[in-house]
Symmetry: C2
Subunit: 380 residues, 2 copies
DNA sequence: CTGTTAGCGCGTTCAG
DNA sequence: CTGAACGCGCTAACAG
């Protein structure tokens, strides 16, 4: 069923049919009626989208790439909020939103280059993710959220280091045994509990070190994983820009309190889930190195920590101060001190930028964040 | 930057380049190396996805259409779980997931026909939604979740009527003033509070009727809205199959308890949100017709009801019995009696069916659900 | 307002 | 293993 057949049946030229669909005003009422009638009769579903976009040079699709398995788009609350903002802008412009099927394997590069889209939005991935090169190589407009930051791609993110410093100052105030509950450090996504380590440190032995989880089976587990777990956490070694900047910011805050990074215990979650956080937090909050302050990289992780504290009979902020990140709906009821930012707005901004429709402040204005003080920390 | 240019630069024919990408095994190592080198040098990003799919006759995209604004995909927890299942299957098959930009306006039909996809999955929409005809007209494989049910499209849904009956029997046991907290009745999505009405009833005046919300501005508000609000709720009049079947099921349950549908108060939410539910529930739980049993169509709505009850100082199940739907993570902690079903599995099933890769039981097995009894209802 | 021409970039033929 | 022709289905650009 092609346009030519409809044209023949309607007794008009192919271009008249094309116009009848694409620019109806350019065709006489009569011709349009005949075309519609013939199309109806033949069951012609309208111009073939693929052929049309080949000819026009645009697809009407905005591609979204996650540095994660595709299901993350709907499973992770942060990604979800971000994508809601992207979706809003897509709907405004009549663009479809195409989630490119990333699985973590090497074929992801091919899938990205095979995506028929007009622009890309990239949700946080690792600096060494080959997918990011593939995207840059397409030459299509692309905006990266969170990281990595590159000269050839647009970039949107809050100043994570400054925000982490602000949260750290708050949560570490008066603390003696601070801890950080962190996102994964790199693509191996190995969870661990250890102490901070200076960037130029060699292997520092810590008896408290342990591996709690394992990397997903389809992920390449590098030798760096276990090694790092015994070496302590070096912020500079993280290949996720967001994680790196937040670790730096927490380190800054503790340094300002006169402390040393090697005193800070760092638990790394392999996923952004309260469940996993609860298990890791239980480890942070018990034993000879039990912590009295936890700076978490998301509200989900902080909520898991709250649950662990409750189970251990620890009071907040009496025995433990705690901060989260994002100011999600659950943060206020839980009394959680947190960093407020709108991932939804940031998603919208990424989409606008990628589609070439920036709003007035999109290019220049910094992305907004603010510290929200609640009862999980002590300062007034 | 086309394939022909790469071929010229590499000193081979265009087809050699094509094979080098599409069927590398069919090309000599040397030719492949020269092609890769030339491509690298010229910055050729690989075969143009659009041209490739035009030629091949497949796009590698699974289209998803929601009977809602695009942001619903990420904002509504039920849609989100469903789509996580769809995404899982897409990732398994290396297919991209394209969310077709639906806004509720008349242009939605064009957007659907303009979608370059190999198959469609449709998330619950109204029987009279023109989008569903457009999808059928494309002739592409399509699977509808929830409704409408059509002979020409595959269909996946639980037996909502039977499940609602089961929940209703549970929650209405011993009740004197039952109520239903419902999803929207039709595309106008007007929220209201009124009583049930028999299907063949004329206009039944109810002084308790009120409009709580209004339809979104981009939605056509038909005259049926306000009129229906004063006429009482007739299950048969709902154009959303899921809503209709659940209303029928709740009616069945109350009838089995010897009651009449016109005694059942029905509050209709315009969205699936605890916030709106809280306001409507407050209305159900107060005044001369105060209810003592609420069957909600989702856990979100039930949780909103719980909040309203708490604020009014009502005890559950003492003063009020309550049931939800879906058995979400929040249901167990809240002690909510609910209908358990896996929207994630259903999403996966829809995707498999649409893509023509059904799993062993997909075609025949009924979709699973079960009643989960908790403390929000009274029976042992 | 309608028709003609000339491809968009690629991949499936089928020879060689 | 490689090359030449043809067309996937449509539309920009121009006549007429």
């Amino acid at each position: 069923m092609t346009m030519a057949e409809v044209a023949r049946a309607a007794g008009v030229s192919v271009m008249t049919v094309s116009y009848a669909y694409g620019q109806p005003g350019r065709v006489s009422d009569e011709a349009r009626a005949r075309v519609r009638e013939a199309a109806e009769r033949l069951g012609y579903p309208g111009p073939h989208p693929g052929a049309r976009s080949l000819r026009r040079g645009r697809t009407g699709n905005l591609g979204v790439v996650l540095g994660e398995h595709l299901t993350y788009a709907f499973d992770d609350p942060q990604a979800s909020r971000f994508l809601a903002g992207v979706a809003q802008v897509c709907a405004d412009h009549g663009m479809a939103l195409t989630l490119v099927p990333v699985t973590g394997g090497p074929s992801d590069v091919d899938r990205v280059t095979a995506a028929a889209v007009d622009a890309f939005v990239v949700w946080t991935t690792a600096d060494d993710d080959p997918v990011i090169d593939a995207i840059a190589a397409t030459g299509l407009p692309a905006t990266v959220h969170g990281g990595p930051r590159r000269d050839d791609l647009a970039f949107v993110a809050v100043d994570d280091r400054a925000a982490a410093r602000a949260a750290g100052i708050e949560v570490f105030a008066g603390a003696r045994h601070p801890a950080v509950l962190s996102f994964p450090l790199d693509r191996a996504r190995i969870s661990s509990v250890s102490f901070g380590a200076p960037s130029n440190a060699g292997v520092t032995a810590h008896s408290g070190t342990s591996n709690v989880g394992v990397a997903p089976s389809d992920t390449v587990t590098t030798e760096a994983g276990p090694a790092r777990a015994t070496a302590g956490i070096d912020p500079e070694a993280s290949t996720f820009r967001v994680t790196r900047q937040r670790l730096r910011g927490f380190r800054d805050a503790w340094a300002e309190a006169g402390g040393d990074w090697s005193q800070v215990r760092v638990a790394v979650c392999s996923t952004n889930s309260a469940r996993e956080a609860e298990a890791l937090a239980a480890e942070l909050l018990t034993g000879p190195h039990a912590c009295d302050a936890v700076a978490a990289m998301s509200d989900e992780l902080a909520l898991g920590t709250l649950r662990a504290a409750a189970r251990l009979g620890l009071s907040v902020p009496g025995d433990l101060t705690l901060s989260g990140w994002d100011d999600t709906d659950a943060a206020a009821p839980a009394g959680l001190t947190t960093i407020a930012q709108s991932l939804r707005d940031q998603g919208a901004r990424c989409a606008r930028t990628a589609l070439g429709h920036p709003a007035p402040g999109d290019r220049d204005t910094e992305v907004a964040w603010r510290l929200v003080r609640r009862v999980s920390t002590r300062r007034p």
